[in-house]
Symmetry: C2
Subunit: 252 residues, 2 copies
C-alpha cells in the first residue's frame, strides 16, 4: 500500500528581511520532534522566501511611471502597485483593464496574474512583495543546509499560488526546485492495460506543491510543509525546465 | 500539526464495461483492512469510470469523416482516432496540425488535448476511451453507495490527467465531484501578516486530484486513492463550477 504523508510545520514565525529560512525550518522541525528522512520533500511558500530575501517595496518609495498611472486608472490597484507589477514583468501576456486583470510573464518565464506581486498592509503602510529573483538558488541553499544538519538527501520546492486558464480557482505550483526532477517521464511506455503513455510527462513537482497547499491554508501561518513518501527522480532540478518554450506554446 | 494522508488502494482489478466501480472499491478497502472515515475523499481515475461505463469505441467500428481524414494526414493519429476525438469535441480551442496537437473543449466544458480521448491496444485491436458523460453523476453514485456501506460522510472525485499552457508536464485535475465544494474561498480575507487575499479562491478539489496522482503513478494499476485529513466544505459539488465562463476567459 503506497502512502504519502503531508505534514504542516507549525511554529514558523513571521519572517523578516534577512531571516535565515533554513534555520527557521530546522528549528520548527526540532521543536516538533520531526527528523528529516531520505527522500523527504520540503515545500516552502514563496512569500516566506521573498520576505527573507527582502523582495519588498514600500508604496511610498515607488514613483509610478505614466504607463502605470494609465493602467491603474479606475481599477482596484494603486499606480504604485501597478508600477511594481510592471517592473517585475518581462511581457504582458493578456490584460483586461476593465476587470483589472493583468496576466504577465515574469523574467523567470512564469506566467501569472500581476507578475506574482502581492500587496499587503503592514500597519498603515502599503507594501508589495515580488517573487524571489532566483527561486532555484533559494531552494538549493535550503536543501544543502538541511541535508547537512540532518545527514539526509532531500528535495526542496519553493511554491506559489497561481491561477490558470479555463478552470476557476488557483492551485499551488513550483517556482523553485532543488534535488529532484520536476517530471516523472512516461513517454514511450504502455500501461498495464495497453494504453499508450506517449505524451505523458507528469509534472510531479507541481503536484507536490499542490498537495502541500492542502495542509497550508492561507490563514494558518503554516508556510512550510513536509511531504514524505513521494517517489521522485533525484536530480539537480530547476523550475526553468517547467517553462514551456514560447514558440511551442499555443497560448502565449 | 496538520496532516494529510494519501493512500493508494491496491487490488483493484482491470475494469470492464458493466463493472460496479463502487463495489470494487469497497472490496479493495475491505481486503486492505481500511475503514472509511467521515471526511475522507476517494479519488477515482477517469479511465476506470470510462471503461466501467462503456465509453469505449473499437477502431473497426468507426467510420472517419472527411474532416477526420484530413486532420490526421501525416501525423501520428489514425483517422479513426481523430474521428472519435471530433465526436467528443464541442469546440476546437487550438490546433497545431503539424505537431499533432489538438486542444479541444469537451461538451462538459473541459479544455484538454484530444478531447480526453485515450488510445490503447487491446491485443491487436485499437480502441479509444472517451471521458464519462456525467462524471459528477458517477462520483455521486459511488459516494452514496460507499457512504451507506461504511456509514460515513465522504466526498468522491473522478480525476484525469490534463496538460496546461505555459508549464510543461501534466497534472491530475477533477472531472467529477460529489460531496464537497471544489473551492476554498478566501476572497475578502486578510492573512495573519496583512496580505490581501481578495482574489484567492483555491481549487482544493484539483489539488486533491493532483495529490492523489502522487501515489497512483500510471503503470502501477492503482486507479483509486484515499485522501484523508483534507479540510473541505461539505456541499453537493460539481465540476461545472470549475469551468470558467467563456466570456470571462482570456485564453479561449
Amino acid at each position: 500500500m503506497k502512502k504519502v504523508e503531508i505534514i504542516g510545520l507549525d511554529g514558523i514565525p513571521d519572517v523578516k528581511p534577512g531571516d535565515d529560512v533554513a534555520a527557521l525550518i530546522e528549528g520548527a522541525l526540532k521543536a516538533l520532534g520531526l527528523l528529516l528522512e531520505d527522500g523527504d520533500i520540503l515545500v516552502v511558500s514563496q512569500k516566506v522566501v521573498s520576505k527573507a530575501e527582502g523582495q519588498i517595496v514600500r508604496a511610498v518609495d515607488v514613483r509610478p511611471s505614466p504607463l502605470a498611472r494609465r493602467l491603474s486608472q479606475d481599477i482596484d490597484k494603486t499606480p504604485e502597485h501597478m508600477e511594481v507589477i510592471l517592473r517585475n514583468t518581462a511581457r504582458i501576456v493578456r490584460m483586461d483593464r476593465r476587470r483589472g486583470i493583468f496576466i504577465m510573464a515574469t523574467p523567470h518565464g512564469f506566467v501569472c496574474a500581476n507578475a506574482g506581486v502581492d500587496r499587503s498592509n503592514v500597519g498603515k503602510e502599503e507594501v508589495y512583495t515580488a517573487l524571489p529573483e532566483d527561486p532555484d538558488g533559494t531552494a538549493d541553499a535550503i536543501r544543502r543546509r538541511l541535508e547537512k544538519s540532518f545527514s539526509v538527501r532531500i528535495a526542496v520546492v519553493v511554491s506559489d499560488t497561481f491561477g490558470r486558464p479555463w478552470r476557476l480557482g488557483q492551485t499551488d505550483v513550483a517556482l523553485g526546485i532543488s534535488g529532484m526532477s520536476p517530471f516523472r517521464d512516461y513517454r514511450g511506455l504502455v500501461d498495464p492495460y495497453g494504453y499508450e503513455l506517449k505524451s505523458t510527462m507528469v509534472a510531479v513537482v507541481d503536484e507536490v506543491a499542490a498537495a502541500a497547499e492542502l495542509v497550508k491554508g492561507k490563514l494558518d501561518g503554516v508556510p512550510v510543509t513536509l511531504v514524505r513518501g513521494v517517489v521522485f527522480e533525484v536530480a539537480r532540478g530547476s523550475s526553468r525546465d517547467l517553462v514551456r518554450r514560447m514558440e511551442e506554446d499555443l497560448f502565449l
